[in-house]
Each structure stands twice: as structure tokens, then as C-alpha cells.
């Protein structure tokens, strides 16, 4: 039997005549962990979707265990032993873990107890600490990931593809995930994983393939790469000095106080949280997952509500405010750029220009009955050019964009509102290195223009490279403040944990 579990030859996929992948050759060995890296728009997702039967090739061939195949649906791919764990998990939140595991394999008559026992035994055999009777919506990100993996293994997958598996995991959960993947490897399962965290690729993978602009650039053993070499292969230029690396030598002086949060409470996530945000500065907010950072700023921007009784106080320009929905917050000059762009950021099947224009609509005091298509297109075009959104055609839909360009659309949708206070929640999550640099430049430019900018990030190098002042959040409140000049990764992490 060949050592190659899956291979693609001259794989090409065209969208509206534009190649998403172009003549890519790819080999996946049996029992190897293969990292797929590249900028957003490089073709990683398309390549893996071809493997998983989500899309079909325009030209080229695919072989599994030496046999030519062309899966047209995920079910066909699953029957070939190929499973994909998507970035946004595909579990049914209202069903139990066991029901999700056996979804699609139900018999005419199902004995629930039998399903739970089978699921329990199966999860134990994988050494996964997940209760089969638990409802999926109540699970954390790591446990949901486990259920997805368990489902893939249950379907006797020989190839499992992970799309950004660690994006929403805490450091401890990541470590656990890596152990799981290594365990799968020992069982002879071949793993393909897409990651923007290059350190993870270097740490976990046996081999790394780099794609750029839909073309194969290089495949080699992970040991032969370092971070700078991967980045250079990904973007065709050396970014290692500009991406995260440059430490701040000076910080911007604080302007007027724009936002004051006083003793804010939203049980159980936000506990008596107090902080201030100043104009002309980037305020970085760091904390582990569950530290209440996102919730605090969602309350500020009217997405969530504080506690009904004694929920604390929010002052915008020294005046108390209480937003029950986001629209009045937008009118008051607060823009929140969500961390979950696919769910909360845009209408993915609508054109880019319409999505951007939607941001502007909430600025109109009484809404608008009739919308001007010309104005929509003009506003969209302006911001597409301003933020260098790379789209296929002027009327492209957001779903057709890469993650980095989707993020730029979400940012444009917020900036079109001309806010005074802009809150970026994980602005570069799932975004390629080229777009990271551009988004960081944009954030810096906003602060230079005198806007009050908040950056919430779980990635320390990003916080340290961007922020003028760093707030560390722990257990629902800000516990420490650092100037960017005297912050170190160790001090910030210590404050976040202890």
C-alpha cells in the first residue's frame, strides 16, 4: 500500500473565472500531521473544501489510497474516510453530545439509553472527558472541539481536516488539543490543519505546505522551517520585523476621557468592572478567555445589557448612558467591531457595498425608508479602496472574500459611522499576516487621528505592539494597568492569571 493517503494533482478551482486554487499539487502521508499555511485568500480553505467534498475541482485530480476520486458532497467524502472539523463547529447546540455524535446514523427506532451508553464507551476509549448527556450549547469551545473530533473518529475517518482549530481555545485547551491530535496520529489518522498561528504549525506539524495566491509555494519538513521563513514564503516578503515584533518606544499621550465604566456588573461574566478609555490612545485589553472583556465592551456598545439591579454605570464623555440596543450607541459615536464576524459581523450573501452601507444606516436618526443604490455603491467603493479590500469585482459578496478581507468589511462597516470610540474585539483572529499588518496600520492611524481606540486581544504580541496602555482583565474585572513602555509578557500574563 502506498505511503500517500490523499493526493491532489494540478488541482484548480475557479470562482466566476477567477482561480481560488491554481494547479496545486498536494500529498498527505499516512499518519502525518500536515500544516497548511498561507495568507487569507491563498486558497487553503478551498483546497481543504475540495478534499472534504464541499466544493468540486474545476480541473485536476484527487486520489485517496491510490484510487481516483471526486467527492461531490461531504457525505461522499466521509464515505471515503475524509472528515472536516470546521472553524465554526457544526454541532447542533440544542442536542446532547451523544445525539450529535450519532447524527445522521439514526435507526428507525432509537433507544436513547443505548446511544448514551455507546457514546460514553466511545468517548472513554478516546479518553475524552465529555459527558454524553450534556447539551452541546452548555459546553466550552474545547469540549465542542472534542465532540467534533470524536464524531470524525466515529465515522472511521482516515483523514481529518481541521480549519483553525485553536482560534477559540485557551492556552490550556490548546495543549490538550495538541495531545489529542498527536494521539490521532498514533492511531494512523492523517491530519491536515490550517492555522494562522505559525508557532502552532512549527510545534505540531511533521510537514508544512505554504500556499500563496492560490498557488503551491513550498512543502517541506517542519524542522526545516522557522517563523521568518514561513512568513517570507507566505507573503513573498520579510515581515518578521513589522509583524508584532516591533516594541513600542513611545506611547501616545492620553487625550480627554471618552469612556468611563464604573462598577459594571453582568453576572456571571462581569463583576464590578471599572475602567477608562482616553482619546488619541490605543487601550489594549488583555485577558484569558472568560475574563469578561468582550462582555464589558458589548455592554458599552449596547449589544448586551448589564445587570438589572445595581448594574453599575457607564459614562460617555462624562454623561451617564444606558444602551439597550446597539443603534443608539452607534448614534452616540461608539463602534464595536465584533470578534465573531461570521455570526455578528455581516450578511454574508449580501454585496460588500451593502454591508458597509448598513453600518451607516444606524446613524440616521429615524432610519430611512428609501435607500439610494448609487449612494450605497459610492460609499462601498470609497471604503473598499480606503481599506484595500481585495474583492472579485465591485459587486462581490462578502462570503466570497477571504477572512482578512471579510474583517476589513466589518471594520469599514463600523468606521463609516465616524465613531469617536472604536472597540476592536480580536481584530486579527483568523486573519492572515499580510492583512494583520494592514489592520494594525489602520488601528494606529485611527488613534493618531485622535479617536479613542480599544483593542481586545488574547494574543500578547498583538497587545504589546499596538497598545499605548494595557488593561489586564481577570475574573470579570480589570485588575492591572500597564504602560506599553513598562509592560512585559511575563508581567501581563502574571496579572491575567494570579
Amino acid at each position: 500500500m502506498s505511503d500517500i493517503a490523499l493526493s491532489l494533482r494540478s488541482a484548480t478551482k475557479l470562482y466566476a473565472g477567477v482561480p481560488a486554487i491554481d494547479g496545486v499539487d498536494f500529498d498527505l502521508r499516512r499518519g502525518e500531521i500536515h500544516a497548511l499555511v498561507g495568507e487569507n485568500g491563498a486558497g487553503k480553505s478551498t483546497l481543504t473544501k475540495v478534499m472534504a467534498g464541499v466544493v468540486t475541482l474545476t480541473s485536476g485530480t484527487m486520489t485517496v489510497d491510490g484510487a481516483d476520486v471526486a467527492p461531490r458532497t461531504p457525505l461522499e467524502a466521509r464515505n471515503l474516510g475524509i472528515a472536516m472539523v470546521f472553524q465554526e463547529n457544526s454541532l447542533v447546540p440544542t442536542m446532547t453530545v451523544a445525539q450529535n455524535l450519532f447524527l445522521g446514523q439514526e435507526k428507525f427506532y432509537n433507544r436513547l439509553r443505548g446511544i448514551y451508553i455507546a457514546a460514553q464507551q466511545f468517548l472513554q476509549s478516546l479518553n475524552f472527558d465529555v459527558t454524553p448527556t450534556a447539551t452541546v450549547s452548555g459546553l466550552g469551545a474545547a469540549k465542542k472541539q472534542m465532540v467534533e473530533i470524536a464524531r470524525a473518529v466515529l465515522h472511521r475517518a482516515k483523514v481529518i481536516i481541521f480549519d483553525e482549530p485553536t482560534a477559540s481555545l485557551t492556552p490550556e485547551e490548546k495543549k490538550y488539543f495538541f495531545d489529542l491530535v498527536r494521539d490521532l496520529k498514533k492511531r494512523g489518522v492523517s491530519i491536515v490543519f490550517i492555522s494562522h498561528a505559525l508557532e502552532e504549525a512549527l510545534l505540531l506539524a511533521d510537514r508544512i505546505t505554504v500556499l500563496r495566491d492560490g498557488k503551491h509555494v513550498v512543502t517541506d519538513d517542519a524542522a526545516k522551517f522557522d517563523r521568518a521563513a514561513i512568513i517570507q514564503a507566505m507573503v513573498g516578503r520579510d515581515l518578521s520585523n513589522t509583524l508584532y515584533g516591533a516594541r513600542k518606544g513611545t506611547v501616545r499621550p492620553a487625550g480627554a476621557r471618552v469612556l468611563t465604566v464604573q462598577n459594571l456588573k453582568m453576572a456571571p461574566m462581569v463583576k464590578n468592572n471599572s475602567l477608562s478609555v482616553f482619546a488619541g490612545q490605543i487601550t489594549g485589553v488583555f485577558g484569558l478567555v472568560g475574563a469578561g472583556r468582550t462582555e464589558t465592551f458589548k455592554i458599552v456598545s449596547g449589544v448586551l445589557k448589564r445587570d438589572f439591579f445595581h448594574g453599575g454605570e457607564i459614562l460617555l464623555h462624562d454623561k451617564p448612558v444606558r444602551y439597550r440596543v446597539p443603534a443608539p450607541a452607534v448614534k452616540a459615536g461608539i463602534a464595536y467591531v465584533t470578534e465573531d464576524r461570521k455570526v455578528e459581523g455581516f450578511f454574508e450573501t449580501s454585496p460588500i457595498a451593502q454591508n458597509i452601507y448598513l453600518g451607516l444606516l444606524s446613524k440616521f436618526p429615524n432610519g430611512r425608508m428609501i435607500l439610494s443604490r448609487r449612494e450605497t455603491d459610492a460609499v462601498g467603493k470609497t471604503w473598499i479602496q480606503k481599506l484595500k479590500v481585495r474583492a472579485i469585482g465591485d459587486h462581490g459578496k462578502v462570503v466570497e472574500l477571504s477572512g482578512g478581507n471579510q474583517q476589513k468589511v466589518v471594520i469599514a462597516k463600523s468606521l463609516v459611522q465616524e465613531p469617536d470610540l472604536i472597540i476592536f474585539d480580536e481584530p486579527t483572529r483568523g486573519v492572515d499576516v499580510g492583512a494583520i499588518v494592514e489592520i494594525h496600520e489602520l488601528i494606529n492611524r485611527l488613534a493618531d487621528e485622535g479617536k479613542a481606540v480599544v483593542v481586545i486581544s488574547s494574543y500578547l504580541p498583538e497587545i504589546m505592539a499596538l497598545s499605548d496602555r494595557i488593561l489586564v482583565s481577570r475574573q470579570g474585572k480589570v485588575v492591572e494597568e500597564f504602560s506599553a513602555l513598562d509592560a512585559t509578557e511575563e508581567r501581563i500574563m502574571y496579572a491575567a492569571i494570579h
Binding site: 464604573q262 438589572f308 504602560s483 506599553a484
Partner: protein
């Protein structure tokens, strides 16, 4: 009717005026322990205010007027009542407020008799004096009902009777510039007006003739007090203690406050103090919480030390702190002299000195 219902609802829901919140010490007010590193020049019984003519440093210590020459303190004279405010006049003179009820002007600090005396019947708690021009003094009067030393009662009674007076040295007349302030405590000339600390409203207001007070800096997490000019533009603002949610809560409970003031020794009121840790009877003195398996001491701070450097527009640039575990609490006066900042920490009764060189660079980031 609607206002009454709203007030009732706010009390139940903890909203509006019933919100019990305190701003955080962050940004320019980020805590440090710089005041604890200050050199102690002198320890006094009851230091209250500072003044300098550029060469000599005068200290109000109870009823005594002290002069500090280097490290040597000497008594210049004493008065029949405690000094509540000091101000150096041009030409080597000195203005002294006594017991909050009288302002005397001396051509020389050692003169036996004042050349001008203002004993307006309106004076009750004059706690700061500042020179507006060669012929005018501005005085802040904290309360029309409580004396200078009874400021905690003034806070607990929610009094808003602070006033600002203009004292014309030529005509020897007193004019009211503003009234209805929440404990006016400290003033400094700012353009055509006077910047005034309003302690109980935690803000600085600009008082100008013919205009209502305009807020310059609001929502301070402290009770601001005296103001002095800083070299290079701007001001030094002292804060005699920090606000806490506990005190804010008590301020919204009239029945509790009434009983507390009637039945409990003022030293043990749930109220801000200039010093703490004196007695086990102090409220919440020995609390602790368990965090991640470790018992950590915790208590709402009863006293705190803070001086804030403001820019020329009255906005904070940086601040110097003595935190809860420090000693130099109850900072009520700060003045620049030579290359140093001299302060009074009234809690421990200390006159402190901090070199100004490098302060901005150290804390202005």
C-alpha cells in the same frame, strides 16, 4: 409625581442618583507609591497648609506658624485659633485664615498686628486662600454650617453650602463669587476666572464673574482639595482621600447616617478619614477574601494619599500616590519650592519633599 416614582424606581434598581459607583484609578491616575518614597522634612502635630515667598517655606501647624529653613523648623508666631489656610503675598506679606472665620493679612509674617482683617459674618470654614492679583485674594469656604475640622459631618449631611469669596484688599470688601458648592476646598486663578475644587462633587469648576460655575474636570475617584500653580504651566491638585463604594452607599442611606452621626464617635463613622489603622473599631478594618485558595487582606480604603499634576487646561497629566498600605495619607497641600514639591500629609502629620526632576518622565507615559 413622575420624579418621585422615578426616584423610587432608581433606589430599587440602583440607577440614576442611586447608582453606587466610583471611577477607577486609571490613566493619569494609575496608582503608584511615589509619595511613600518622599523625604520627610518635618513631623508636626497638626499641619494644615503651606505657603512660600520663594525663599522661606511657611507651615500652618495648628495655631502655630512655622518657618522651615532647610531641615530646621522654627516657630514664627502663634495665634489664638488654629490656622485653616495660608497664602504668601507679594512683597513678603502673608495672609492667614484663622479657624475658618477670619482672614488676616500681615505685611511681614512676624508682625504683631495685621494691616488688614476680614471678619465677614459669612465666613464659616475658610480653608484655602489664593492671590488673584496684587489687590485681591480669593478664599474658599467649605461649608456654611460645619466648621473647618468638621468636614466629615458636612459630607454626611450632604451639605452643598460651599462658597467662594473675593477679598478686595484695597476697599476691604468681601464679595461672593459662587455659592451652593459641594465643599469648596482650594482655588487657583485660571485665566479670567478661578479654578475651584468641589470636594463633595468630586470635580473642579471654573468660577468666573457673571457666569455659573463651569465643570473643568469631573468624576474624580477622590475628594479634591487645594490647588497651586505648577512651574511650566498647569496646577498641583491635592486629594485628601479616595472615594469608596462603601461611603457612596452610606451617603445614599439617610436613616443610617442620621443614627450613625447621633450614636457613634465620629472617629469610627463610615466616612473618609485622613489616616486609618488606628483602632479595631474602625469599620471594615480587618476584612479578607479568599482568592484561588489564598487568603488576601482586603478592606475598603479609609484613607489615601494623592496629588495630581494637571495641565494648563486642568486635565490630569500624572499623579503621585500613597496607597492603602502606605502612611503618607490625607494630602491637603502641595507647593513647588526650588526644584522640589513640598507636600503636607495630614494623616501622619508630615511635611514631605519630592524632587521634581524626572517626575514627569517617570509617570507621564
Amino acid at each position: 409625581m413622575i420624579a418621585t416614582v422615578r426616584e423610587f424606581a432608581n433606589r430599587i434598581l440602583g440607577r440614576g442618583d442611586a447608582t453606587i459607583t466610583v471611577p477607577s484609578f486609571d490613566g493619569a491616575l494609575k496608582p503608584n507609591q511615589k509619595l511613600e518614597a518622599a523625604e520627610t522634612l518635618l513631623t508636626c502635630e497638626a499641619p494644615e497648609d503651606l505657603a512660600t515667598d520663594g525663599r522661606n517655606l511657611f507651615i500652618a501647624d495648628g495655631a502655630r506658624l512655622m518657618r522651615l529653613d532647610g531641615r530646621v523648623a522654627s516657630e514664627v508666631r502663634s495665634f489664638e485659633r488654629p490656622i485653616s489656610a495660608l497664602c504668601a503675598l507679594s512683597g513678603g506679606g502673608l495672609a492667614v485664615a484663622l479657624g475658618g472665620r477670619e482672614v488676616r493679612l500681615y505685611s511681614s509674617p512676624s508682625d504683631e498686628q495685621p494691616h488688614v482683617t476680614f471678619a465677614d459674618t459669612a465666613f464659616n470654614a475658610v480653608n484655602a486662600l489664593t492671590l488673584a492679583n496684587d489687590n485681591t485674594l480669593v478664599a474658599t469656604d467649605g461649608s456654611a454650617t460645619c466648621g473647618v475640622g468638621d468636614w466629615a459631618r458636612d459630607l454626611m449631611e450632604l451639605n452643598r453650602t460651599g462658597r467662594v469669596f473675593k477679598l478686595d484688599l484695597g476697599s476691604k470688601t468681601v464679595t461672593s463669587l459662587a455659592q451652593g458648592l459641594g465643599h469648596a476646598f482650594g482655588a487657583c486663578v485660571h485665566g479670567n476666572g478661578v479654578l475651584v475644587s468641589e470636594s463633595w462633587r468630586h470635580r473642579l469648576v471654573l468660577v468666573a464673574p457673571g457666569a455659573p460655575p463651569r465643570t473643568v474636570l469631573a468624576h474624580l475617584p477622590v475628594y479634591p482639595s487645594r490647588l497651586t500653580k505648577a512651574s511650566g504651566g498647569g496646577y498641583w491638585l491635592t486629594a485628601f482621600t479616595a472615594r469608596t463604594q462603601l461611603v457612596e452607599f452610606v451617603l445614599r442611606e439617610p436613616a443610617y447616617r442620621r443614627r450613625m452621626m447621633a450614636e457613634i464617635d465620629p472617629a469610627y463613622w463610615v466616612a473618609p478619614r485622613l489616616r486609618s489603622g488606628i483602632s479595631f473599631k474602625e469599620p471594615m478594618q480587618g476584612a479578607h477574601i479568599k482568592t484561588m485558595g489564598v487568603i488576601k487582606p482586603w478592606a475598603p480604603p479609609r484613607s489615601y494619599g494623592l496629588v495630581i499634576r494637571l495641565d494648563a487646561e486642568g486635565q490630569p497629566l500624572y499623579s503621585l500616590h500613597s496607597r492603602v498600605d502606605g502612611v503618607n495619607h490625607g494630602v491637603v497641600a502641595a507647593i513647588e519650592m526650588g526644584g522640589d514639591l513640598v507636600l503636607i500629609a495630614k494623616g501622619p502629620g508630615r511635611v514631605l519633599k519630592l524632587p521634581l526632576a524626572g517626575l514627569a518622565e517617570e509617570f507621564c507615559s
